[in-house]
């Protein structure tokens, strides 16, 4: 996977994860292209697109579009499962996740993603295991802050 983007129906970016080193300008352009392309798709078309030499897989969950760019040898159907798994993880963590959760807690969305994917590949296939790790990390955080008696951020 080269990148994973989350954006709203209005094209506002909610999360961007890049697995390739790309300059800022390039990233902005890709985001723009993706949002334009995906938002232009009609409702009952298939979830795959071709863009340059990448396969783009996207799925809409409520008001958010999850979009990832794959290499030619990656399995598109599995990518749909990966996106779904990520949504499940978010759902488990936030409890009935909605877009607002991701807006206000974007850093947590990143933390969860970082437990699930690394360098574009899956690092853990067990939902339980990921949930445990994130929880433990959060606990570490809380403990520190209790110490400081100041809210982290």
């Amino acid at each position: 996977m080269h990148f994973l983007l989350l954006f709203s129906r209005q094209g506002k970016l909610r999360l961007q994860k890049w697995f390739l080193p790309l300059p800022e300008r390039e990233r902005k352009k890709i985001v723009k292209d993706m949002t334009t392309m995906v938002l232009a798709r009609k409702p009952r078309t298939c979830n795959f697109l071709h863009w340059k030499d990448l396969k783009i897989v996207y799925k809409r969950y409520a008001s958010l579009y999850f979009c990832c760019g794959l290499e030619s040898q990656d399995n598109e159907l599995l990518a749909l499962e990966i996106l779904h798994r990520y949504v499940e993880l978010l759902d488990k963590y936030f409890g009935n996740v909605c877009e607002l959760d991701i807006i206000f807690n974007f850093e947590k969305a990143y933390f969860i993603l970082d437990e699930f994917l690394m360098g574009g590949e899956i690092q853990e296939t067990s939902k339980l295991s990921i949930a445990k790790s994130v929880e433990a990390s959060d606990m570490l955080q809380e403990t520190m802050e209790e110490y400081m008696s100041k809210p982290a951020f």
Binding site: L13, R14, L15, Q16, W18, F19, P21, L22, P23, K28, R44, T45, C46, N47, F48, L49, H50, Q73, N75, E76, L77, L78, L80, E81, I82, R85, I103, F104, F106, E107, Y110, F111, D114, M118, G119, E121, I122, Q123, E124, T125, S126, K127, L128, S129, S133, A136, S137, L140, Q141, M144, E145, M148, K150, P151, A152, F153
Partner: protein
Amino acid sequence: MPAPIRLRELIRTIRTARTQAEEREMIQKECAAIRSSFREEDNTYRCRNVAKLLYMHMLGYPAHFGQLECLKLIASQKFTDKRIGYLGAMLLLDERQDVHLLMTNCIKNDLNHSTQYVQGLALCTLGCMGSSEMCRDLAGEVEKLLKTSNSYLRKKAALCAVHVIRKVPELMEMFLPATKNLLSEKNHGVLHTSVVLLTEMCERSPDMLSHFRKLVPQLVRILKNLIMSGYSPEHDVSGISDPFLQVRILRLLRILGKGDDDSSEAMNDILAQVATNTETSKNVGNAILYETVLTIMDIKSESGLRVLAINILGRFLLNNDKNIRYVALTSLLKTVQTDHNAVQRHRSTIVDCLKDLDVSIKRRAMELSFALVNGNNIRGMMKELLYFLDSCDPEFKADCASGIFLAAENPFESLQTFTLEAGSYVRDDSVPNLIQLITNSVEMHAYTVQRLYKALLDDISQVTEDEVLDVLEGLLVSNLSTPVTRGYSLTAIMKLSTRFSSVNRIKKVVSIYGSSIDVELQQRAVEYNALFKKYDHMRPALLERMPIMEKTATNGPAEIQTNGETDSTILDTKHPPNITQPASQANDLLDLLGGNDVVPVIQTTVPTKPASAGGELLDLLGDLSLTGGPTPTPAPSVPISQPPFLLDGLTSQPLFNDIAAGIPPMTAYNKNGLKIEFTFERSNPNPNIAVITIHATNSTEADMTEFVFQAAVPKTFQLQLLSPSSNVVPALNQGSVTQVIRVLNPQKQQLRMRIKLTYTHKGSPVQDLAEVNNFPPQSWQSLPWGCMGSSGIFLTQSRVDGMKTDDDDDDDLQRQ
């Protein structure tokens, strides 16, 4: 200084902004506060500030001043700081900044931290954005962690190693010992990442590949366990146990089994098992099947297995889920070369997919259909494909038409079928497209003409001379024919004079047109007349049959041989020509071609020309040189004709071709009501100079005043722009502005031109730039080009440094 506002507060505030300007204001204010906070080296709130900065960065605002702060956070002892610091590093930093190297030491320390979650953060960051230098420095640490028994760290280390190898392939060897017992792990996370690591190594190094082949049995066993094992809640997805791992293993097996008999054999059973036992009701099962099919097709599997794979794809095609159909079509496209027969069995389903509403699916189905066309199914396929061409979106038409042509090239009957079918199926608006395609591709000239010629070979006897002449004359007088078509008809009639006995009738027709209003027709008629009178002895030679072009792999024919007779024929009256001009040309064309058993073609001598519709096909035929000499000239590059007095030097130059026929006019620009047409003449004996007359017409309601036409050409050309007839283009096509361009092309390069138009319309100035690339090939055979403003002064060549096709040229022209 008051505590900086909290992240959530900021987010909430920014979201209340109603305009972009308001948002920008808030952001700027906050950025200023953050900057001063950074300057004060405030440790407590640094984390908060960076978090806010990251939010603003996501909104699209610059956040580079936070980069160093991220490093400070990473160096902090607090876990919260580190978490945000590493996140910031991954978002704000990349290889390009030198700053990132400062991270190396921090990461190294954190890789050895006592808390595994800190180690995890470090591994994650390194594995996502580590540069080559960082990877080199830290590879040792990663390798150490790869051997740890802590599965949390091991899986992360494995993926980090993958990243290191991608960045610095030479370090691959280093990780080899650590991979020894990776696969004996029970933990799925570690298993999965190990398989990814092994895959990466095998893909990069053939030595590694042979080394790891011995793992095939182990992989097969793991896969088997996954399939056979009972329900495992931790890894279950819709009843399938760890599909992610299954797919990854299948992919590794594919790489290991490719080209290797033993490995392939070892996998046969498990592949068959997966293929038959996987539940297909949900997407996840199909994802596994998809990967299985890909693996089966790539390794040296036994034929039974291959058939199984193709059948799975066939089932996919019938699936309601569009994604699955799409994936099936893509895979079938890959396998159609090797397993043609098996795929053929699913032909009808594939053809049905042409009717799908989804654009992506239609495109794949179309590509696959073309790949499946063969001698047996050509008729049926053509029918379907033509129907598809008829009804598909414009974006497909070009590809579809070219596909149809290419597919139909071999079998002779298909030509006939095609031309017949084309007559009845192909709709008018798609024909210009078709024709444009043909004319744009020299290869297709050869193909098309050859096919059409072949088709004609049968049917000549059935047509009488008079009928033919009737038709041609009909064309000449028909209101619907454009001058171009008339020109071709005239030339065709002329050519027939050598073959038919009713020469007098032909003479009569030709002389009538000697006084035609249309300059083109007049010129042709007069010259043909002259041919009758003064050069009658040469007439047969000049009007000899056109040779067939032989298909070659390269552009155009290499050999030209004489051809059978070509005649025009009965107009197919099935098509009431109730359409617009270009369409009617097309109709004429099709009528001439289609209908009944007689599939005729008007043999004209006019070379091909893109842009305008209708007569194009005729153009193609006109492309062949007159005399039967073995001239290896590509079809379109018919040299420009010389006036009759050069007939003396009869070579295989198609002299007569272009005397009267000349080069057909073309539309160079047509936008916002302004249309500019180029007509070509060769009025002087210098073969390197051609004269183009531009005709600018205005179809809007208001005049275009102060009209200025400028042109620029590539360096090797020279251009001279004479004064225009006026600089007001009257409205509603009441008149036109003409201007003469003389072009010198000593190097006989392809003609290209960039034009700039400026005028005032309804009080406001309008300026436009356009590229003109669709010059008829013969117009540039020896055309000169240059760059000129309309005042007639030569602008310096440095203004137009080659005709680059990207945007920099615009700058050049702008400065003129």
